[in-house]
Symmetry: C2
Subunit: 271 residues, 2 copies
């Protein structure tokens, strides 16, 4: 039955777990199949053509798991591959950019919005395009922060070096007097505390994962596919590589313990 | 003719350019074919099985380019895949670990040697095994420094954050009174200045690339395959992905301008 199919979630690696956390919180009874392309992470420094190619491979894998909706829990993929994915698959496909853009517009009072993300997300102007399409009167200022991902994965959440690096990346945006800052990468919410302190406590931080989960819920509800189950949903995790500290970092992002993790061979994926 | 064949060099990404720099300096007349697996970098956080699989694919590609020797300019691959590569190919195959280990033993006076590298290189105890096999009387202390690679690739060579991060990683080794420190990752030589300052100016830094180039020269000479050419050799560069800032970072590592860069599709590689 359509309603009891799982929701597919995919990310280039572990970061999408922060979006899955919000999905579980918004729809605790839904089953979720998560795919993290940990053998080929990071996508943020790859070319657009490569990102589209990998995304299509993963969508095919998840489509074979009979999903009722696909959540692209990766800013880089959301900024590049959504048109190709939507052309191929006839289920709701929700990225993190559009919900994040809407959330930012709801939060801003001065119309001065900052966006931080990977090099690829920022180079594609993904958020500014999406925000300005909805409201051309606001101003959007973007800044790539490539070191935030490795810092988050190292688990250094409040180290002095994190403050120094945040200061280097964020001082421009602070001087531009933004009132809203979009955390345009799924890794960034776990560095939230440092980012808030450096950008200033009056700046609203927008975590795309939160609004993405709301949009996914609305969309599945709209087509009448919310589960009838009253018990806690299951999470199945597939990754292309399991390294020794994967589980720890994943649990840091997810905020809960993980059960089974399955490894998918890249040969299977590219076949 | 065997002598005029190129030398193959491969790395998970860009870092091996620091080894290629030393090869050019030691053998300016040799042609070099460089392969950087930039679509799947970094290897340092992947499982051993995945690293072996990727290495075999790349060795096959380079073997088809008719190379006379293969330089594995990647510490992670050198620590994991050399036995598989040597079993399959009957040309000299030189990694960076063994030359680095020999160099360290030549430099140390107190017999207290530190080694820094990626998580994978350190988890495999690659350098300590290689050093202790040669001289079981010395003491080797190892420390993974995962953030050094993204810092080097961001081009932040002397930023305050780099000092803070180096301090965090290196303080243990400094307190252990080492007199020699192996830079067990091809990215680290470009952070040399900060590392030297933090570990202390009396500690000898060992750049594996320098001794690897010497060993490659000796090995090719031993089998009588050094080129007869008197003109500057050519460098051909193949990568699996070209991202916008690849060329800048590669030139930072290589210390010279790059000419042509060719992209190889992963489909071709895995076929």
């Amino acid at each position: 039955m359509e309603k009891e199919k799982p929701i597919g979630v995919f990310d280039s690696g572990i970061g999408g777990m922060s979006v899955m956390k919000q999905l579980i919180s918004a729809m605790p009874n839904e089953d979720i199949v998560y795919f993290g392309d940990t053998a080929r992470v990071p996508y943020g420094s790859k070319s657009n053509a490569t990102v589209v190619e990998y995304s299509m491979q993963i969508a095919k894998f998840l489509a074979n798991k009979n999903i009722k909706a696909l959540v692209v829990a990766c800013n880089t993929v959301s900024s590049i591959a959504l048109p190709s994915l939507r052309q191929k698959y006839n289920i709701p496909i929700i990225g993190v950019i559009e919900p994040g853009a809407e959330f930012a517009l709801r939060e801003t009072k001065t119309g001065r919005i900052g966006v931080i993300g990977t090099r690829a997300t920022i180079a594609n102007n993904a958020y500014s395009k999406s925000i300005l399409k909805r409201n051309p009167k606001v101003e959007v200022f973007e800044k790539a922060c490539p070191l935030f991902v490795p810092l988050a994965e190292e688990g250094w959440l409040k180290h002095k070096a994190v403050y120094d690096i945040a200061e280097e990346y964020l001082k421009e945006l602070r001087d531009l007097n933004i009132d809203t800052l979009v955390l345009g990468c799924t890794h960034y919410p776990i560095l939230r505390e440092v980012i808030q302190e450096v950008i200033g406590k009056d700046v609203k931080l927008v975590d795309s994962g939160v609004t993405t989960a709301e949009v996914v819920r609305e969309e599945i509800d709209r087509i009448g596919f919310l589960t009838n189950s009253n018990s806690m949903g299951n999470q199945r995790i597939f990754v292309t590589d399991i390294n020794p500290n994967f589980k720890d970092v994943a649990e840091l992002f997810l905020g809960m313990k993980l059960k089974e993790i399955d490894k998918v061979d890249l040969e299977t994926l590219t076949a």
